[in-house]
């Protein structure tokens, strides 16, 4: 394959009317790659504090994500149980194998039965953690042993437990949360903005084609101890 590679690169250099980039030029590109910022960040991504949380909730509502706000993480299992009861959904939930979720008082909710691990094709409700960007009401999930990707896509209902203080304004600010200091990115970073949708049949907007039919958030609003 190296011949194809050399030929493609050679053709590009020929079209650009030059040979390999000079070491100086390569160094400039290195610098550009490691610099951040300088970009146009929309004003709607530059909100702070309570206004940022409100902006996030408004944007999430626009795309059909529902949000339940609770005062503390201890109240999250009850909020999950309420949501499932309200929508008449089975109360078997698949939890992300995340210590934060494992520590929540699930056993206080008699109606719920929980297990943890990646999603199986039969799982109908998943609960994961997430961070978020207020800019467009977008959840951000990075894959890892505590955060299997299948949970975000296979079940009919995906519920994300979100700590208000982890909501950032603009997309740019999400990278630091998912990136190790200088290691590679996690295998997958998912931005999720609403439930799965399509308009492929006569441009009619329909919810729930391949990913979850319901996207719900339990937002823990900073009053936690």
């Amino acid at each position: 394959m190296s011949t194809a590679r050399e030929q493609i690169l050679g053709n590009l250099r020929k079209a650009l009317g030059r040979g390999h980039l000079s070491p100086d030029r390569e160094a400039q590109l290195d610098a550009r790659l490691s610099a951040s910022g300088g970009a146009v960040i929309p004003a709607r991504g530059r909100v702070e504090g309570q206004a940022r949380i409100t902006a996030f909730c408004d944007e999430a509502a626009r795309v059909g994500t529902t949000v339940a706000r609770v005062p503390s993480s201890a109240a999250a299992p009850a909020a999950v149980a309420d949501y499932l009861a309200e929508h008449d959904l089975a109360a078997d939930i698949r939890l992300a194998p995340d210590p934060f979720l494992a520590d929540l008082p699930w056993s206080e909710q008699a109606a719920l039965s929980t297990s943890a691990g990646p999603a199986r094709p039969t799982d109908t409700v998943s609960v994961t953690t997430a961070t978020a960007a207020a800019e467009t009401g977008t959840l951000v999930l990075a894959s890892g042993p505590e955060s299997p990707t299948t949970l975000n896509f296979l079940p009919d209902t995906h519920i994300a437990v979100l700590l208000a203080e982890t909501i950032v304004g603009a997309y740019e600010a999400t990278w630091s949360a998912v990136r190790a200091a200088d290691g590679p990115l996690p295998r997958v970073v998912n931005w999720i903005t609403g439930p799965s949708r399509t308009a492929d049949i006569e441009q009619t907007l329909l919810i729930g084609i391949h990913g979850p039919r319901r996207q719900h958030i339990v937002l823990i609003d900073g009053q936690d101890t």
């Binding site: 590679r5 970009a39 929309p42 590679p184 996690p186 441009q203 391949h210």
Partner: protein, 474 residues
């Protein structure tokens, strides 16, 4: 996909007479442009972002060789593989080889225009591997053995009745008499059928909207979530993409993402935006064991030569299609190859040759709407003019057309003669047409007057009126 762009006139005639298609095209023209407008109005920084995205893309193209090498090195660092493919054949063979090595029987696919470009489905099928399209629109047209007719809405040309017929014929596992007249029911049926295919598949093939040099990442966006199931469940993920799709950094990708969905569907962002980097890590509990990126040239490096380089900035948003009066009248299939609308009329001649695609640069009213909405400021009309020149030089224009243009060029280069001849023609036409005010038929212009009348000239030519006025003023 075999090109039938040389049949554009016949294709168009058929399209204009197709009532169902015309209805579908009206729906499109009513929907996308208004929603785009709304989304743009909600983002005051839109034009600034456009300028920035354009600068990022131009910077990438200037340094494309280096960014591709950087990207490849990062993919390998993350445990993935990069395959450089000069043309469609090489790309097809590469994908087939990876599928065979994985012992694949079925392959799920999420929508990829590069996949169409290299006709990967036909190739896999011919070698006993079943490809299953999973984007709802692509799935429908795969069942119908049709090509996509729009960059982001591949089944835009179909009515829901046609989808009903298609599903009834294809889904033998459901009761024959079931009700299937509402889009909701069709969607639920497709979800059930495809869910099974997702779980069974051995390899998942996606496109990539961008690739990122900084991290070796493939960015894939969908609204359905089909790309995510495609790349997460099978053992192997293959992302196929063009060499021009690289951007330097994650932040640069963000700039493009802020423009992409707004320009395409009028959403602020697609439902799912996925950044995939390498295969499953040692401690991961799901995800593919192998991650391959197929980088396709297929004529792109040749387009880097001055006149057409700008089209390589294209982010495939479809806005130029949605705003094009010609696309809105004839739909995507008339263009006769993978890409359609203004961007297709510029790109296809570069990829399949101007001889095959010589009609496409003429499929334009030069209204300029495409350039106005293009999020990366591609001067589409200017490039269509360049292709017209090349078509002429390549003798792809017929003898009468060439003779006519030569005659016109002869006159246009001789201003005095031009004025004399046009003045005489105006006088003659004016005199002949005085009674009716218009002509039903004209010698040498029979094609033009078949569908319209030519208004008779009402006086002297513009040039002589202008000269007259200047004389009067001074």
């Amino acid at each position: 996909m075999d090109a039938t762009s040389s049949a554009f006139p016949e294709n168009s005639r058929r399209a204009l007479a197709d009532e169902r298609l015309q209805e579908a095209l009206h729906r499109l023209a009513d929907g996308f442009p208004a929603r785009r407008r709304e989304a743009v109005d909600r983002l005051p920084e839109f034009d600034q972002l456009r300028a920035q995205a354009r600068a990022v893309k131009d910077h990438v193209l200037e340094n494309l060789d280096s960014y591709l090498e950087r990207f490849a090195a990062k993919v390998e660092e993350a445990g993935g593989h990069v395959h450089w493919c000069r043309d469609a054949l090489e790309a097809r063979q590469t994908v087939l080889r990876i599928c065979r090595d994985a012992g694949a029987r079925t392959v799920t696919k999420s929508k990829s225009m590069v996949g169409e470009e290299i006709a990967i489905n036909e190739h896999l099928e011919a070698h006993g591997i079943e490809p299953v399209e999973t984007d709802l629109g692509e799935y429908i047209i795969q069942l119908r053995r049709e090509a996509p007719s729009h960059l982001i809405a591949p089944a835009i040309h179909l009515s829901k009745d046609q989808v009903t017929e298609t599903f009834k014929a294809a889904h033998g596992e459901f009761p024959v008499g079931r009700r299937l007249d509402e889009p909701r029911a069709m969607l639920d049926e497709a979800r059930t059928v495809l869910r099974k295919r997702f779980v069974e598949a051995d390899v998942g093939i996606t496109g990539a909207n961008m690739i990122i040099a900084e991290t070796g990442t493939a960015v894939v966006v969908t609204n359905e979530g089909n790309a995510d199931l495609t790349m997460t469940l099978p053992k192997v993920h293959i992302a196929i993409t063009g060499i021009e799709k690289v951007v330097p950094t994650l932040d640069d990708a963000v700039t493009v993402l802020r423009l992409l969905a707004r320009s395409a569907t009028g959403q602020d962002v697609t439902v799912y935006t996925t950044f995939a980097t390498g295969p499953r890590r040692d401690d991961d509990v799901d995800g593919p064991d192998a991650f391959h990126v197929v980088l396709l040239d297929n004529g792109r490096s040749a387009l880097m030569e001055s006149d057409f380089r700008d089209i390589l900035r294209c982010i495939r948003c479809g806005a130029c299609l949605n705003h094009c009066p010609v696309y809105s009248a004839v739909g995507g299939h008339a263009y006769g190859w993978v890409y359609s609308g203004p961007m297709g009329s510029v790109l296809n001649p570069g990829l399949v040759g101007i001889e095959e695609a010589h009609h496409l640069p003429n499929a334009s009213t030069f209204c300029g709407a495409c350039e106005e909405v293009c999020p990366v400021g591609i001067p589409l009309p200017k490039m269509l003019r360049h292709w017209r020149e090349r078509a002429f030089r390549a003798r792809a224009v017929g003898a009468t057309g060439r003779a006519g243009m030569r005659a016109w060029a002869f006159l246009a280069l001789r201003p005095r003669l031009y004025r004399a001849v046009t003045g005489a023609v105006m006088a003659v036409l004016g005199a002949l047409g005085r009674r009716r005010g218009r002509f039903r038929r004209l010698p040498l212009a029979g094609g033009w007057t078949v569908a319209r009348d030519l208004a008779a000239p009402q006086g002297p030519t513009f040039i002589s009126q202008w000269a007259q006025r200047r004389r009067e003023r001074s």
